[in-house]
């Protein structure tokens, strides 16, 4: 059927207003879905980057067997010893897909300002690992705001400060430590015993950056250490804002009197390799006789917030796609039905001239395809324009469960947009095929004398 596409294009001009309305519905629906896909993809990568790099979870996490649940309560038994760490590092080094292997120590205790003590949850990080992670391209691109300290300098730049620690902003507020080491060019003398009942204590607490840490060492004995606040930071989760404390791994190991770590995290060059690398690593660790458990970053147990949020978002996205697609399909069905009934005589004439049913159906489907494709392409342009405007306006939102704000960036996700476009087009064609096919089941003579709607 030569010239069918040209004929279909020409036919579209006959009902311009109606076809324009359908095209617009597709344009707006597709642009909306495309932007939604962009926003959800952005949330996904933001939360994933936070969980993997900023929360130091890694793509794969290795604990002593049962260590995930019990290392905090019984650290001496459920932490990874120096020998086990060495063996795990060796096993990880055999895989070129592993970019970095880092050890972390988690511990609890009380941080005091001389008058009151508040509980903390500490994370000991090797400063060089921290430097590498904070400067990872994904962190700089997607979590740049959260990666920067609110005040002070990163721990990896504070090697000159004895006992340097970072406090989450909530914890620093609870302790009244609102200023950091760098705010005092000449370190002030630390009042050994402030009069805790004196009014205006907040000013006294903020008069230095000194904090005392107390806790239980690995052997169960009470331990204490002087620390100096070098940075105040936001944690990637609001739940840990009043608790989190970061310190150098060596310093925290000294505090808890151990050379063990709570877990080791592996950072991969490509996150999609996590299942395969994890499987092979499990086998290698097992062959070395280490009682360990390996978790992937997509497991809810280790990243409940990321996995839970994304499961919810995916369900919501599916529901919205269903609703929007239904609206578009109903619009196409309505338009096609009216068009087919209006053009019944034309269809009958084509049949009488010897056109096969499939050829007539093909002509109508071409028309629907052209409307759909124009709508999708216009939708993509519209989505890009809206995304550009939103980005230029620097709109910020406070994501649930995350302290601070993040800029709304909704660049349409091309893969997602392609599949949504394909779905909408396929459904439109399917509906058109049903409507036209049904009408063409009638006799040609009846089509020829049909009264136009």
């Amino acid at each position: 059927m030569k010239g069918a596409w040209r004929l279909a294009a020409r036919n579209l001009r006959r009902n311009r207003r109606r076809n324009l309305a359908v095209g617009l519905a597709i344009t707006i629906g597709f642009a909306g879905l495309s932007l939604m896909g962009g926003y959800f993809a952005r949330v996904d990568i933001f939360l994933r980057t936070c969980a993997v790099y900023l929360q130091h979870g890694g793509h794969l996490r290795i604990y002593h067997k049962d260590g995930f649940d019990r290392a905090l309560a019984k650290p001496a038994r459920f932490s990874l010893t120096q020998a086990q760490q060495d063996a795990i590092r060796q096993a990880a080094a055999e895989d070129p897909r592993v970019a970095l292997t880092a050890g972390y120590l988690r511990g609890m205790g009380l941080a005091g300002n001389g008058c009151r003590s508040v509980p903390f949850l500490a994370l000991g990080i090797d400063p060089q690992d921290e430097r590498q992670l904070r400067n990872h391209p994904d962190v700089l691109r997607y979590c740049g705001d959260l990666a920067l300290p609110l005040r002070g300098r990163p721990l990896y730049q504070a090697a000159d400060v004895e006992g340097g620690i970072g406090l989450a902003s909530g914890l620093s507020a609870l302790l009244g430590k609102t200023r950091v080491h760098d705010d005092f060019p000449r370190p002030p003398p630390v009042a050994a015993l402030p009069d805790c009942n004196r009014p205006g204590m907040a000013a006294l607490f903020a008069a230095d950056a000194s904090v005392q840490l107390a806790g239980a060492a690995f052997d169960g004995s009470v331990t204490a250490l002087d620390a100096e606040v070098v940075q105040i930071f936001h944690t990637p989760s609001i739940e840990t804002e009043d608790l989190e404390l970061h310190a150098g791994l060596a310093m925290l190991q000294r505090f808890y009197d151990t050379d063990s770590v709570s877990y080791m995290a592996l950072y991969l060059r490509d996150e999609r390799d996590a299942p395969e690398v994890g499987r092979q690593l499990r086998a290698r660790i097992e062959s070395r006789g280490i009682p360990a458990a390996v978790y992937e970053f997509t497991e809810e147990k280790v990243n409940p917030y990321y996995v839970g949020t994304m499961t919810f978002i995916r369900s919501m996205a599916g529901f919205i796609i269903l609703i929007v697609s239904a609206v578009v399909v109903l619009g196409v069905m309505n338009t096609t039905t009216i068009t087919v009934y209006e053009r019944s005589r034309e269809l009958g004439t084509l049949r009488a001239l010897g056109y096969r049913k499939s050829q007539v159906v093909g002509l109508m489907l071409r028309e629907v395809f052209l409307i759909g494709l124009s709508g999708i392409l216009s939708g993509l342009v519209l989505a890009q324009a809206v995304a550009w405007i939103v980005q230029a306006a620097n709109l910020r939102v406070k994501p649930p469960g995350v302290p601070g704000t993040m800029q709304i960036v909704i660049p349409p996700n091309l893969v997602f947009s392609f599949w949504v476009g394909a779905l909408m087009l396929s459904l439109s064609l399917a509906v058109a095929w049903l409507v036209v096919g049904r009408r063409l089941r009638e006799r040609t003579s009846e089509l020829l004398i049909a009264i136009n709607a």
Binding site: A214, G220, A224, L225
Partner: protein, 251 residues
């Protein structure tokens, strides 16, 4: 006829109730029992000093730590003696606040009485016991513990800053000494138990009375860990109030 029968039944019930162990136990108040039992665990009005050794055994590992404890009413000064690396560390109990002081530490840091001292012993276990002040007690019944008749007391913490939320405490009827305790979480789960021995005698101007010599703490969560606190050479000593002032201790 019916009225007489009814009065008779009530009279019989009253007689049975008054004669029950619970009714008899009410005659002895929970507070008085706690005050008497506290005296044998360091809760004495004058000054007192003893040495405490905490021996812990957990998963095949044995540890031992020694302390010198000086107590006066609601205050106590606990000084670590051994092992050598802990020597010089001090815990100062000011009423319900505990300060931890370590040589070289810029400021004292307040710690919790619930924090583990060693093994299953909490910081609050080693100093003088003042259950009468810290807990609201009620006599819940009478039981025999290792052949000894006891009152069973249910203790609930009066405030947050105490060592345990809830305690079941068995006090000997005859000696008015605590012989057994179960320590419970807020939800009522027993997480450790303790048994007390009174092999020492504290000689004081007020007279001689038995003093706790061993507190054996067992983990109730299935780990099998056992911690023994040995209270040795208790002696009545007058301690000045200034001894328990944080400013003086830090200097």
């Amino acid at each position: 006829m019916v009225r007489n029968w009814f009065i008779g039944k009530i009279g019989l019930a009253a007689l049975l109730l008054l004669g029950s162990p619970q009714a008899r136990a009410q005659a002895v108040t929970a507070e008085a029992l706690l005050q008497e039992s506290d005296r044998a665990r360091g809760g004495v009005a004058g000054g007192i000093t003893w040495n405490a050794t905490v021996e812990a055994e957990e998963e095949g590992q044995k540890t031992s730590r020694s302390f010198l404890v000086k107590a006066r009413e609601n205050d106590a000064l606990v000084e670590a003696l051994a092992p050598p690396r802990h020597k010089g560390e001090i815990m100062l109990f000011n009423d319900r606040i505990i300060w931890f002081i370590k040589p070289g530490l810029r400021r004292p840091v307040s710690i919790s009485p619930r924090q583990r001292l060693s093994g299953d012993a909490a910081n609050g276990d080693i100093a003088s016991t003042n259950y009468a002040r810290d807990y609201q007690g009620t006599i819940a019944g009478e039981e025999s513990v290792n052949g000894e008749e006891t009152y069973l007391l249910e203790l609930k913490a009066r405030g947050k800053n105490v060592t345990y939320d809830r305690i079941r405490y068995w006090i000997s009827k005859k000696k008015h000494l605590g012989v057994k305790a179960e320590f419970l979480t807020v939800s009522g789960t027993v997480f450790k138990t303790a048994a007390f021995e009174y092999g020492s005698v504290l000689r004081s101007p007020a007279g001689d009375f038995p003093f706790v010599s061993v507190m054996t703490i067992r983990d109730a969560t299935g780990s099998g860990a056992v911690t023994r606190i040995l209270f040795e050479t208790p002696r009545a000593e007058k301690h000045p109030v200034t001894m328990f002032n944080i400013n003086n201790v830090v200097r």
